[in-house]
């Protein structure tokens, strides 16, 4: 089966779900979500069965805008599919909140009217993310990116009776459109300099000394603005906290994992073209270094005083983007130590670990949200008493995000730091150290409120009903975080 069949299946599945929503008389629309989930699990299995055409044949075929760059693109497709599966689980759990914020005043309407699209739209975003992982042509990158972004515009503003969600939607739309403008302009410059839309050809053209470095750097700067926006890197991170806080929780999870991972694939591809050119590498990695320092400092330090868990995770997502860009800024070269780590692999590993721990946190958040309204730290006080399992799941997630050894998150940081040492990036290392130390504090803050503080008011004793899929997903994620924290080969083997 060719690789692109997977995207086709996902899109078809999405359309099927929309049709079911419109024409089938379903009592409980959550069954649409279960259908999507099962379908995606099948797609995830198929990822291991696709055949890779050899590079030459692929170049000649109609699908030449869609490159099968080995395991890496499959790996990122896997991240997209896995994220979507868990997002659907969360969306099903979250449906009472969605329904109450989209309620239709018309008499006789289905009590869950409008819920179906909420389950179907993530499928289209997923197809876009999967395509992005394989896109090797400027146009193809742009189109897949837009497929994802436009879906997200709808999803972020989905709770139409909720001011926060609408505000988030508008902010995301305006800033997203602006960043898209930068991206297209950058692509136009790139095409103007090199005369090609194909990433491979552009790479060769940029490596040529005849290229005008100023024009190339200008194109890079424009692209950087757009990419920094997509992955939430400073100083283009302003939208992240507000949008994360306002969007429905499953969509926040989707944005923070799926969208970020795909953003980084494109970021790696695009910056890779500049980094492989001898004439540009110095300046480009310096610019990336500056962005990394800013992102690390802002993400980690502003996270410290946060009181809302969702906002905290927004800043944490910025902080992790900082570590990832730090890896990108370390240009691979042969040092005294011999071969150095490949930044691409480091980023891929980090994103895999980040997926596990962040989705776990969001799963717990969605479950808690069913009992307690709001996502302030107060809602998590005494959670260890109310639900030891949820508290433990969140403890593991936070330990991994903080980078405590024997969790997957630690290896992510270890690889990034090793890369920085191999490249002698002392400034980046120092800033990374400050960031990691700050991380200890703000991630443990949530642990402290779960374990060390007492719940206020009536929420003292409650049995948290954890839906079965959510429970299974949580157990799998906990095991995966610890297993990958002892045996990183589990993730590295997939690359």
């Amino acid at each position: 089966m060719p690789v692109y069949a997977l995207e086709i299946i996902v899109v078809a599945l999405g359309i099927l779900m929309l049709m079911l929503d419109a024409f089938a008389k379903l009592e409980d629309k959550r069954s649409i979500a279960w259908l999507g989930m099962l379908g995606l699990i099948v797609v995830f299995g198929l990822l291991f069965r696709v055949e890779m055409p050899d590079a030459e044949a692929a170049k000649a075929s109609f699908w030449n805008f869609y490159s099968p760059t080995g395991g890496l693109s499959l790996y990122f497709k896997g991240i997209a599919v896995l994220t979507t599966i868990i997002v659907l689980i969360m969306a099903a759990d979250h449906s009472p909140v969605i329904v109450s914020n989209t309620a239709n005043p018309e008499p006789g309407a289905h009590p869950q009217a409008g819920l179906g699209e909420f389950f179907a739209l993530p499928l289209f975003a997923c197809a876009g993310l999967m395509w992005m992982a394989s896109a090797n042509n400027l146009v193809s990158i742009f189109v897949s990116l837009e497929l994802v972004t436009i879906t997200f515009y709808v999803l972020v503003a989905y709770m139409r009776r909720n001011v926060g969600s609408l505000e988030a939607g508008v902010k995301y739309l305006i800033l997203g459109a602006l960043s898209t403008g930068f991206l297209v302009y950058g692509f136009a410059w790139l095409f103007g300099i090199t005369g090609s839309m194909d990433l491979g050809e552009i790479k060769t053209a940029l490596a040529d000394s005849s290229v005008n470095p100023t024009a190339a750097l200008f194109a890079f700067a424009l692209i950087l603005v757009a990419m920094a926006f997509k992955v939430g890197a400073a100083p283009f991170h302003m939208w992240v906290p507000d949008v994360y806080q306002g969007a429905p929780t499953p969509i926040t999870a989707f944005l923070s994992v799926g969208s970020k991972a795909a953003g980084f694939v494109v970021f790696i591809r695009l910056s890779g073209m500049f980094l492989s050119s001898e004439f540009l590498v110095g300046k480009v990695s310096m610019i990336l270094g500056v962005i990394a320092v800013l992102t690390l400092l802002i993400g980690n330090l502003v996270a410290i005083p946060q009181k809302n868990f969702k906002r905290l995770l927004a800043y944490s997502s910025i902080a992790h983007a900082g570590f990832l860009i730090m890896a990108l800024a370390c240009s691979p070269k042969v040092s005294k130590a011999g071969e150095s780590l490949s930044p691409t692999n480091v980023i891929a590993f980090y994103l895999g670990a980040y997926l596990l721990m962040t989705l776990l946190a969001f799963l717990v958040m969605t479950t808690v949200r069913r009992r307690v309204s709001g996502e302030d730290f107060d809602a998590y006080k005494g959670l260890a008493k109310r639900s030891p399992f949820l508290a433990f799941a969140l403890l593991i997630s936070m330990a991994s995000l903080a980078g405590i050894p024997l969790t997957a998150g630690f290896f992510g940081k270890l690889f990034v730091f090793t890369l920085a040492v191999q490249d002698s990036q002392w400034v980046l290392l120092t800033v990374g150290l400050i960031g990691a130390a700050a991380g200890f504090y703000y991630y443990l803050k949530i642990v402290a409120s779960m374990y060390l503080e007492k719940a206020e008011g009536s929420e003292t004793v409650a049995n948290y009903a954890i839906s079965i899929p959510a429970r299974i997903a949580m157990i799998i994620l906990i095991v995966a975080i610890i297993a990958a924290g002892v045996m990183p080969n589990l993730i590295f083997g997939l690359l």
Binding site: L341, L406, F410, L414, F415, T418, Q422, F440, Y441, L452
Partner: protein
């Protein structure tokens, strides 16, 4: 599965089982008892005729990718790690024994016992890992349990604040340490995390780290490990944490976990950056004098028994440092022996103050007085422990300290150098520790009885047993240091000790 893997896995698995619902105290006692038994079997099986090197080795490769050191979960022991493992299992058994019964713990007894086991299991894993990565990772296993234990079960109003202080302080220390370790590994070729291979590379003249870089790496490692050992001036986290932590955590942390930093310096920092160690010798000497003299004087001024013990444990780290940097085999033997002796004696003291605290509800020295009359057994035991900590002959502490002082003076060549001056000054620490220990003993146990104190129950055997276990091991090693030194000698002789000045 080798015996070492079983020893490390037992407490960790027991913690998991307890979390899943098995009876906490029995499971914990059983697991730690089995781990202790297995450790003693290992000691009996230990080949004393081998010339250094690791024994009982096992290795499971976990990661081998381009540009990153090969990673494997590997265990092995030499004499130094064996002695520290014996220390760990003794303290672990005593700490769990001394922990309150399940129904008298306010809050979750499962978290209580599982945390103790994780702290102990982490220390065991760190001491017998022959892979740098896991040496580091196992030590970090204790971070969150310590945080929860102090925050949940600690004493005093501001226990949450104390829990934060120790966690952030140690967290920062570990990150600094991590960067130092990565630098060392990368500059030694970056092919492996295997400690023996790294040391071999560092000793070969071609591939050793460049001297300039060695200074930096050693400095970063000293700061990182120093924070974990509470080297002056990075000590301020220790006394309040020990004073407020629940008794088993104080015992495990002060007795065992803190030794990890010293173990790291012996095992990693000095062998990997020997020239750095030589350049930075004088700096370390000044800092360790800070531990012995400055902290010693601070200890005298303490008004709370547990805080005093906390400071005294910080102070004694200075002696161990002196032995470690003395650059002589005698000094190094003494240093490891003192790690053992101090670990046992401080755990012993904390167990005793835990008993006091549970009876009187206070450890302010001024509020206690003359209690040996109502608690003669406890008074006698405390007297022994206090004499041991002050370095009276007959206890392991004396044997260790005398070795350190001899070792540090061994290189005397007619000129009194930095090392010798430090030794002369450090000797005054013995006087200081006698002052604070005897004063505390007199004020708490002897003298006029404070009539305001409630009448309390005498110590039962159940309560005395863990204390006697520690006391007997301390005296056994004190009378026959050879019991442990025979393990240490080959390991220390195989080390390439740097030349102290």
């Amino acid at each position: 599965m080798t015996i070492l893997e079983i020893i490390v896995l037992l407490p960790i698995l027991a913690a998991v089982v307890i979390a899943l619902g098995s009876p906490a105290r029995i499971t914990a006692l059983l697991a730690s008892g089995l781990a202790a038994a297995a450790t003693f079997v290992t000691a009996l099986r230990f080949n004393l005729n081998a010339e250094g090197g690791f024994q009982e080795t096992s290795s499971h490769p976990l990661l081998s990718i381009e540009g990153f050191p090969d990673l494997s979960l590997s265990f092995g022991i030499d004499g130094i790690s064996l002695v520290l493992m014996i220390l760990t299992v003794l303290v672990l058994v005593a700490a769990i024994w001394a922990a309150p019964a399940e129904n008298s713990i306010k809050g979750s007894a499962r978290i209580y016992y599982a945390s103790c086991l994780l702290i102990g299991g982490g220390a065991l894993g760190a001491f017998c890992s022959t892979d740098l990565f896991f040496l580091y990772a196992f030590h970090e296993l204790a971070l969150i349990p310590t945080f929860l234990m102090i925050g949940l079960f600690g004493t005093g109003e501001n226990r949450v604040r104390t829990a934060w202080t120790i966690t952030i302080y140690l967290g920062i220390g570990s990150i600094i340490l991590l960067i130092g370790l990565i630098m060392a590994v990368v500059h030694l070729g970056g092919n492996t995390f295997n400690i023996a291979d790294l040391v071999a590379t560092a000793n070969s003249s071609d591939n050793a780290i460049a001297p300039e870089m060695q200074n930096w790496i050693y400095l970063i490692l000293i700061v990182g490990f120093g924070i974990l050992v509470s080297l002056f001036p990075f000590h301020s986290w220790a006394p309040p944490a020990y004073a407020q932590a629940p008794t088993p955590v104080s015992m495990l942390h002060a007795g065992v976990l803190k030794k990890f930093g010293l173990y790291g310096i012996i095992r990693i920092a000095q062998p990997l950056a020997p020239q750095g160690a030589e350049t930075m010798l004088n700096l370390v000497l000044v800092l360790l004098l800070g531990n012995i003299l400055y902290i010693g004087l601070v200890t005298i001024a303490q008004k709370n028994l547990n805080r005093m013990l906390g400071y005294s444990s910080v102070m004694h780290m200075g002696y161990v440092f002196l032995g470690v940097v003395s650059g002589t085999a005698i000094g190094m033997n003494g240093a490891v022996l003192l790690m053992f002796a101090h670990g046992i004696s401080i755990a012993l003291l904390f167990a005793l103050t835990g008993s006091l605290k549970s009876r009187y509800g206070t450890l302010e020295i001024s509020e206690l007085g003359g209690i040996a009359k109502s608690l003669p057994g406890l008074g006698l035991l405390f007297g022994f422990a206090a004499f041991a900590a002050a370095g009276l002959p007959g206890f392991a502490n004396f044997a260790a300290e005398i070795l350190i002082f001899f070792g540090a003076f061994q290189k005397f060549d007619g000129n009194i150098g930095w090392l010798q001056w430090t030794t002369i000054l450090a000797l005054w620490g013995v006087v200081i520790s006698a002052v604070y220990m005897l004063r505390a003993y007199r004020n708490v146990f002897k003298g006029p009885e404070n009539l305001a104190l409630p009448t309390v129950a005498k110590m039962g055997w159940q309560e005395k047993a863990p204390i006697l276990l520690l006391l007997v091991s301390l005296m056994a090693v004190g009378f026959v240091p050879e019991l442990l030194v025979k393990y240490l000698r080959p390991a220390v002789d195989a080390m390439n000790l740097f030349v102290g000045k």
